[in-house]
């Protein structure tokens, strides 16, 4: 079993940037959803760089229709989990088109690879990949409407203007709404690509502005539909007792007490995955209690008696493994990148410093626990689920009920948080299987305990960095050791080293101008399901690297910001290719298209120093910490100040972020991702998942502590670099630099360096 094709940062880039326009049939349009199929229909097929399965062409389609009442309907084919993508991509199209944003309707796409390409909403790449295609689609529709108007008025197209869903011709005073033009426009041939011109950036009315999210009112009135909110007639609710240890098998179970609970209808065994590498897309073995309501299913599950053969992971102790991993970093590992000469004699001169960094397992803990609804009837399956990856959900559900994927329809609800958890379709497979078993619609409902006990965790990690200085006090060598159970090990127990993809997240791309660099990885086994969590391995890599740099700057008597600017060196485009052993993934993008530019990082570093009044804060003795880290092709620098309140609790008065994400498409959503990213990262810095006897020790939010309002940074300022560069992601990049900036600030306050997470505050 190999699930790697679904891991966004592991995939290779295709490097294609072509697109072609096509006209979908009305029938096809109707199949897409409830889009109006009366007026002008346009599809655009885009071949663009990004994650791709080796076997298929990555060719997402963008669909829009314009109706006779001027309503513009746009299909959102990415999942909405809080980033605003369901708003922002249609907004780009609408702006390019010249549509009245108030008259735009957004329709959520079902999971369909043929139509939309890879829909996995992950890896912070939706904007990066679809900014241009959405503009092309909008410009195409605009071209056709203008042409229809100009033809009927017998004027030059160039003299026509488009605004608020209408085309006007100033000198003749003629004007027509989109709705009045669609019939004529629909009869025109599609323009060839060269015939379509994009607007100048200054002419955009929505792009680069604060645009409220489409679902805002539905959310605040409770009308927004999340995973568990769909109601079907005769639907049963399933709560499942799953293997408490990964690799456990059911010896036997007794359902009699569960069946006594009023409302419980049936108890069904789920064979689920086998062995200690259960895969990323299979249900875990378990026993499901199906009832007429959620409470009865919960009570029924409590009453179940399952006798487990716990298997070889039953002795797993995460603390013990972490100590072993730390030990291993002292030895020689597998070299993943090398620059210069690491002969021991080379390091006898000058001063050396060696530090180790430990970080724990993390759970995603989306406030909406996984839930999915399945309706298997007449040889077809329909799913409603809060999934980041509707196609994988479709495939996993099809496999669970032995149907071809064409017989499975996946409707995507809003997601009550995703952070990588809801890319994995295990909970959808459960619902599909149970609906078939019962011959009725079934909602699978995970409880919080289920969520924390059966997640795909962010790996715990051990790192060791040894750096030496030359005779003049400059950093001469940097030897970084990293070890953490790999995501790939969840599907393949023989994967003992992190993949190139995981190493490429903040480790291989160490950008600093140091003459001797060596990066080594070490072996470790996965004893649980490992997955990806918002910014993935960047979390622990940035923690170690930026903490170490801060300590080195102190040793060298330098300001940490001055040191980073020194280490970034001249403005230049870096190249890692000759030094990296294996593949440098660059987040799925061709390197020449999105290279590492030191000038862009220097700019955000300087910007954050200025905005946070770094020098003044230092003079005034404020406890301020700094870190800078590029991830998902976005450059970020961050400062955090810390203090204590009268009760001795940690207070974070101020966080500053400077960010260069190219064009900031929806500035409000860029800011909100950073505000939220700081809070998400603070939760990571202060929480942990631990295992004993193979089982997760945290049961609910009393054990796995997400920060609450009093702990949140009081102010988070987001300073966005104005840029016309290609846009890059903002969902994940806020997380990595926050933790080391916080640790560096805490050092100022306490005099103690932080080498191990979680922090005790």
């Amino acid at each position: 079993m190999n699930n790697n094709e679904h891991i966004p940062f592991i995939n290779k880039a295709l490097g294609k940037d072509q697109s072609s326009l096509f006209r979908p049939s009305r029938r096809e349009f109707l199949k897409l959803g409830s889009l109006a199929a009366g007026g002008l229909l346009i599809g655009i097929q885009v071949k663009c760089s990004g994650p791709s399965k080796d076997t298929s062409t990555f060719s997402p389609n963008v669909y829009l229709s314009i109706d006779k009442d001027s309503t513009v309907s746009i299909i959102a084919h990415r999942s909405e989990m809080g980033t605003g993508i369901r708003t922002t991509l249609p907004m780009v199209l609408a702006d390019e088109l010249g549509a009245d944003w108030k008259k735009v309707r957004i329709e959520q796409a079902v999971g369909d690879e043929e139509k939309y390409g890879d829909q996995n909403t992950d890896g912070s790449y939706s904007i990066r990949m679809f900014y241009e295609p959405m503009r092309k689609a909008g410009a195409t529709a605009r071209y056709m409407l203008v042409k229809a108007a100009a033809d009927s008025w017998d004027v030059d197209m160039k003299e026509c203007t488009v605004k608020d869903s209408a085309v006007s011709h100033a000198s003749s005073g003629k004007s027509a709404s989109f709705g009045e033009l669609v019939e004529a426009a629909a009869k025109l041939d599609l323009p060839n690509e060269g015939g379509v011109e994009l607007k100048a950036f200054k002419d955009y009315k929505l792009i680069g502005k604060d645009v409220p999210i489409y679902d805002l009112k539905d959310i605040v009135t409770g009308k927004a539909k999340f995973g568990a909110d769909v109601e079907l007639p005769e639907m049963l609710v399933a709560v499942i007792g799953r293997s408490p240890v990964v690799g456990a098998k059911i010896k036997s179970f007794d359902k009699s007490k569960a069946m006594e609970i009023q409302g419980v209808q049936e108890v069904v065994q789920i064979e689920g995955s086998e062995g200690i590498a259960p895969g990323l897309d299979k249900a875990l073995p378990g026993v499901a209690v199906l009832a007429t309501n959620t409470w009865a299913a919960i009570k029924g599950r409590e009453a179940l008696q399952i006798d487990w053969d716990l298997g070889e992971n039953q002795d797993f102790d995460s603390g013990k493994q972490l100590s072993e991993m730390l030990q291993r970093t002292a030895g020689e590992g597998q070299t993943r990148r090398e620059r210069g000469n690491f002969a021991p004699a080379n390091f006898l001169q000058g001063d050396a410093m060696e530090k180790t960094y430990l970080a724990p397992f993390y759970a995603h803990a989306t406030i909406e626990p996984p839930a999915a609804i399945a309706n298997y009837a007449d040889g077809e399956l329909e799913i409603w689920a809060p999934t980041q990856h509707p196609q994988w959900a479709r495939e996993a559900a099809a496999a669970a009920v032995d149907l071809p994927v064409e017989k499975v329809r996946v409707n995507v609800t809003l997601l009550g948080g995703g952070f990588g958890r809801k890319s994995k379709p295990d909970f959808v497979a459960e619902a599909a299987f149970l609906s078939k078993a019962m011959g009725k619609p079934v909602r699978v409902q995970w409880t919080r305990e289920d969520d924390l006990h059966h997640d795909f965790y962010h790996s715990h990690s051990a790192q060791r960095i040894r750096a030496s200085l030359d005779g003049s006090g400059k950093i001469y060598s940097w030897n970084h050791h990293t070890v953490f159970p790999a995501i790939g090990a969840t599907s393949n127990p023989d994967e003992l080293h992190p993949s190139d993809g995981e190493m490429g997240l903040g480790a291989l791309d160490f950008p600093y101008n140091i003459p001797h660099i060596r990066l080594e990885s070490h072996e470790s086994k996965a004893h649980t399901r490992i997955g990806w969590l918002r910014s993935v391995s960047n979390i622990h890599h940035a923690f170690a690297i930026c903490s170490m740099l801060d300590e080195l700057a102190e040793k060298r008597g330098l300001d940490p910001i001055d040191q980073v600017l020194e280490l970034l060196g001249e403005d230049q485009t870096l190249s890692f290719e000759d030094e990296v052993k294996g593949t440098f993934g660059n987040y799925g993008e061709p390197y020449e298209k999105f290279p590492w530019e030191t000038a862009r990082m220097k700019k955000v570093v300087k910007k954050v120093a200025e905005a946070a009044q770094w020098e003044k804060a230092k003079r005034e003795g404020k406890n301020i910490g700094f870190a800078a880290h590029k991830s998902f092709l976005t450059y970020v620098a961050c400062t955090v100040t810390v203090d204590k309140d009268s009760k001795g609790n940690l207070v974070i008065p101020e966080v500053h972020y400077a960010v260069d994400c190219g064009v900031a498409v929806n500035t409000d959503r860029v800011r909100s991702q950073f505000e939220g990213g700081a809070q998400f990262a603070l939760s990571l810095a202060t929480s942990a998942i631990t295992f004993k006897d193979g089982k997760v020790q945290q049961n609910n939010f009393d054990g796995y502590k997400i920060i609450r309002m009093p702990q949140a940074p009081k102010k988070t300022y987001v300073h966005i670099v104005e840029s016309q560069e290609k846009p890059t992601g903002v969902g994940e990049p806020p997380v990595p630099p926050f933790i080391p900036a916080l640790c560096n600030a805490l050092y100022k306050m306490t005099g103690k360096r932080i080498y191990e997470l979680p922090l005790s505050v």
Binding site: L216, I219, V220, T221, G222, I367, E675, R708
Partner: protein, 152 residues
């Protein structure tokens, strides 16, 4: 199983459920109002917050038998069309990210303002501490509440 007559959003509902069924599941599964969310089942996250009389309560741990004839208000009953000042402030500040916890946040904030129409920033933080947001919208929630506080 027992018959209960409970008052939700000004309407009386006759339900036949076990006495220990939490109000949350009565609201969601039996009455069919989906704006109140399930997050933890242990009164630790606040996603299920509703009003019982004017108090914010965690409906996931309140057994239906303890509700009696008190008036239950869910997000659907807070206002007709989302015109409660807090809902308007939430839109003005574009508070939500994923949005899942926000109905509970709004209900908790509404109860807070009923009790104390001009809370200080610290009071807001303390009173809202029971409502988790994983996306990290705490600053905007605070700003939205402050904007409708009668002290501003």
């Amino acid at each position: 199983m027992k018959n209960f007559s409970i008052q939700v959003n000004g309407k009386s509902h006759e339900v036949n459920v076990p006495e220990d069924m939490p109000l949350l599941w009565v609201i969601r599964d039996i009455i069919g109002l989906k704006g109140t969310k399930f997050g933890c089942g242990q009164a630790l996250c606040g996603a299920c917050t509703v009003h019982v009389n004017d108090e914010a309560v965690r409906s996931c741990t309140l057994p239906v038998s303890a509700v009696g004839d008190k008036a239950v208000t869910t997000i659907e009953g807070l206002s007709e069309e989302g015109e409660h000042p807090l809902q308007e402030a939430w839109m003005e500040h574009i508070v939500p990210q994923c949005g899942y916890c926000q109905t509970g946040q709004i209900m908790n904030a509404a109860a807070l303002l009923k009790k104390n129409p001009s809370p200080s920033e610290t009071q807001i933080e303390e009173e809202m501490a029971g409502n988790l947001c994983r996306c990290g919208t705490y600053n905007r929630i605070k700003a939205a509440i402050l904007s409708v506080s009668s002290s501003t």
